[in-house]
């Protein structure tokens, strides 16, 4: 009897174990699903290649519209745990890491031996909070002055050179506007209404915080920067702030539609120059570094911002998401460049990459070198530091009535200083 019971038990245990093994086998092979949302996708073949090389990870791609509500949509997805790889732009990363929305990536960076300094250099400023990393730099947008060579030629204005100053910029804009008066109302230049767009040039010398850590909005650089925007608007050298807002004008269609001779825009304009079905144009485009704010500023100047890929704290597959991000960024810089975006992964910068970047845009490799030149001195119009995102948001709310000619500059500066300082002291 005992024998029978023993044999029975052995059979039960053996079949249970076998069942477990058989049941476990398919589960082990079941790939982890990573949901990746973005508004500017690399070619889907890149994602397929990743899945072939990493059969344990399945990537689900979701394209979202590149409108102003995208961040809200992404935030809701992140809060509900429905996204594993989250794109972040224009300094969104700092407010999201402050709010605890993004996972701290320090351990994963150490585990996979990623040399952040060597890989991403200056771009790291955008993804750190304190000494910790909360996202990985992905694409960078570098502001340049794009100019329409045909308009310059017809107006008899010389092309800008990298040593030009703000005065040169204004003089060229004035000459083109003057010519434009009898040529379809072409403006000299264009500056958009994005938050802090007016601060691109004064950012070469301005500081956002005082030594005490309070608002430094009354820094002469910012004051002059605000006055400059107003001056260019009121003298008719560019489309005014209120007209851009009211007509929902955007840089790409305006500049490529020959409404102005110059436009200050990010490197993303190269991406749109490739979309000739959407933005057709038949003139030669020139690219120049930003004019120097004043004679005291040296070197070739650029303005930049960084888009990053982060992992929400709610993601259940952080490590798999990290593996995907690193693979995408460090092994596919060419695929990112092919979309007309400048990748952040510095070791990939070479002539071949620049060639891929300009392909289909009418620009030459030589022209586009500016966007990849690590010797260009970069500053940013965005605010880093305590409550940076709110600081920008307050500035944006307060400066609009000034650009609409409704309030005096002093009142605007007082309001910004008061509101930001209340926030900083809180």
């Amino acid at each position: 009897m005992k024998k029978i019971v023993l044999v029975f038990l052995v059979i039960v245990i053996a079949s249970f174990a076998a069942g477990t093994v058989f049941a476990a086998s398919p589960a082990a092979q079941e790939p982890v699903t990573i949901r990746y949302y973005d508004w500017d996708m690399v070619d889907v073949s890149v994602i397929n290649r990743f899945m072939e090389e990493n059969p344990d990870i399945k990537i689900e791609l979701f394209e979202i519209a590149a409108n102003s509500d995208r961040t809200t949509q992404l935030d809701i997805l992140a809060m509900s745990g429905d996204i594993d790889v989250m794109p972040l732009a224009d300094g969104d990363q700092s407010i999201r890491s402050e709010q605890g929305m993004l996972a701290n990536l320090d351990e994963l960076i150490a585990k996979y031996n990623i040399d952040m300094e060597e890989s991403f250099g200056i771009y790291n400023e955008w993804v750190k909070s304190g000494d910790s990393y909360y996202s990985i730099p992905y694409r960078t947008s570098k502001t340049a002055v794009y100019y329409n060579k045909r308009i310059f030629d017809q107006a008899g204005v010389e092309y800008p050179t990298s040593d030009w100053t703000l005065e040169d910029y204004k003089a060229k804009a004035a000459a083109i506007s003057e010519w434009g008066k009898s040529n379809g109302g072409v403006f000299g230049t264009y500056s958009h209404t994005y938050a802090n767009e007016w601060a691109i040039l004064p950012a070469q010398v301005g500081k956002w915080y005082t030594e005490d850590g309070l608002s430094n909005i009354k820094d002469p650089a910012w004051v002059e920067g605000l006055k400059l925007r107003k001056e260019l608007d009121s003298t008719g050298l560019q489309m005014s702030y209120s007209e851009i807002k009211a007509s929902s004008t955007v840089i790409n269609s305006s500049f490529l539609g020959e409404k102005e001779g110059m436009a200050m825009a990010g490197s993303w304009l190269v991406r749109d120059m490739k979309k000739t079905d959407k933005f057709p144009f038949d003139f030669e485009v020139g690219i120049c570094s930003l004019p120097r704010w004043d004679e005291s500023v040296e070197g070739i100047r650029g303005n930049y911002s960084v888009s990053a890929l982060g992992i929400p704290e709610t993601s259940k597959h952080k490590e798999e998401a990290f593996r995907f991000i690193i693979w995408l960024e460090m092994q596919n810089a060419d695929a990112i460049a092919a979309t007309g975006n400048v990748p952040c992964y510095l070791p990939a910068y070479n002539d071949e990459l620049i060639e891929t970047f300009v392909k289909g845009s009418t620009l030459t490799t030589e022209q586009a070198k500016f966007f990849f030149d690590t010797n260009v001195i970069l500053t940013t119009n965005k605010v880093f530091g305590k409550e940076g995102a709110s600081y920008v948001s307050i500035i944006n709310e307060e400066v609009v009535p000034y650009f609409y000619d409704e309030v005096e500059l002093e009142e605007v500066l007082d309001n910004i200083e008061k509101r930001v300082n209340e926030l900083l002291k809180d």
Binding site: T72, D75, I76, A78, M79, I95, Q99, G100, M101, S242, E243, K245, A246, S247, S248, P312, E313, T314, S390, S393, E397, E398, V400, P401, Y404, E406
Partner: protein, 301 residues
């Protein structure tokens, strides 16, 4: 015996009615009452949604106290009241007049009614873009060129880019967009009014204006109160057109309460404070609606 059978039938009918009502009652409970209750609770807390329910901290009336000195919220309350004061009577007044005109028409009633109703079923986003162009701020804008050339106004308003006129533009657009909906409701009720009363009035020598004021409006009283209530609630919920056209600006010139809620919830991730503002909005709407109902009852007596 017969009585007992009848009451059994009634009870059965009642049960059937409840059975049919149950799914929508459950839906209302889950999707309306529970979120309102949660919102009310959140208004008294400090909560980071990323950290889950474990991170909720009870802060008493702190969120409500903050509102007292919050320029965005205070301006939003004033703007909401301003918007309601103009939007509700203008919309219902024009809808009533248009319904009366349509009711009197013999030909073209259906196409005209469709035309008037059309803006209501059109997307607010696309309408907003059209209105932004209509109200283009320079003298070359369609509306402004009429003001300059016909009315000889040298310095026309800058509409959506002016703190002074932006709200006027938004109210005008909202009235145009929503009016058709109320026209349809009022017209349907107007067509159901007894013709005998009108015939008697005509025999008594009442003119058209007297008939409209003394017969049509009193007989449409319940419908008009319904429309007023609906328009008032909608006026406090205004958001889409403001967000698309002005984003609440210039500065806070067109900021309304729903937009303030949106700002704090999704731009600053302060869901607790946003919930507290939502509670204030709920109280405002509830109070106005309650007062309207009281007035309706008083006038009925």
């Amino acid at each position: 015996m017969k009585k007992k059978k009848r009451s059994e039938i009634l009870v059965n009918e009642e049960r059937t009615a409840y059975a049919f009502l149950l799914p929508s009652l459950i839906g209302t409970l889950i999707f309306v009452m529970v979120p309102i209750f949660i919102s009310l609770i959140l208004g008294f807390t400090k909560w980071n949604p990323i950290k889950g329910l474990t991170d909720i901290e009870f802060v008493g009336l702190a969120n409500f106290q903050r509102m007292v000195s919050d320029e965005r919220v205070l301006t939003a309350i004033v703007n909401n009241i301003k918007y309601s004061i103009f939007y509700v009577p203008i919309t219902i007044g024009l809808a009533l007049l248009l319904a009366e005109l349509l009711n009197k028409l013999v030909f073209g009633k259906i196409p005209l009614r469709t035309m008037i109703f059309m803006p209501y079923i059109s997307s607010l986003a696309s309408i907003a873009v059209v209105w932004m162009l209509l109200f283009y701020p320079s003298a070359s804008g369609p509306i402004n060129s009429i003001l300059v050339n016909v009315f000889k106004i040298a310095d026309p308003p800058k509409w959506f880019t002016s703190s002074k006129y932006a709200m006027t533009g938004i109210i005008a657009m909202s009235v145009w967009h929503d009016m058709g909906y109320y026209v349809v409701i009022i017209l349907a009720n107007m067509q159901g009014l007894s013709q005998e009363v009108y015939e008697s009035a005509a025999m008594d020598g009442a003119n058209k204006v007297q008939t409209f004021l003394k017969i049509t409006i009193p007989m449409l009283k319940n419908t008009l109160f319904f429309c007023l209530t609906l328009a008032t609630i909608n006026s406090f919920k205004v958001f889409d057109q403001v967000n698309i056209i002005t984003e609440g600006g210039p500065r806070f010139a067109t900021t309304v309460l729903v937009q303030a809620i949106y700002h704090y919830a999704f731009k600053e991730f302060n869901f607790s404070y946003a919930s507290a503002i939502a509670v204030v909005l709920f109280i405002m709407v509830f109070t106005v609606t309650y007062l309207q109902r009281r007035l309706e009852k008083k006038l009925s007596v």
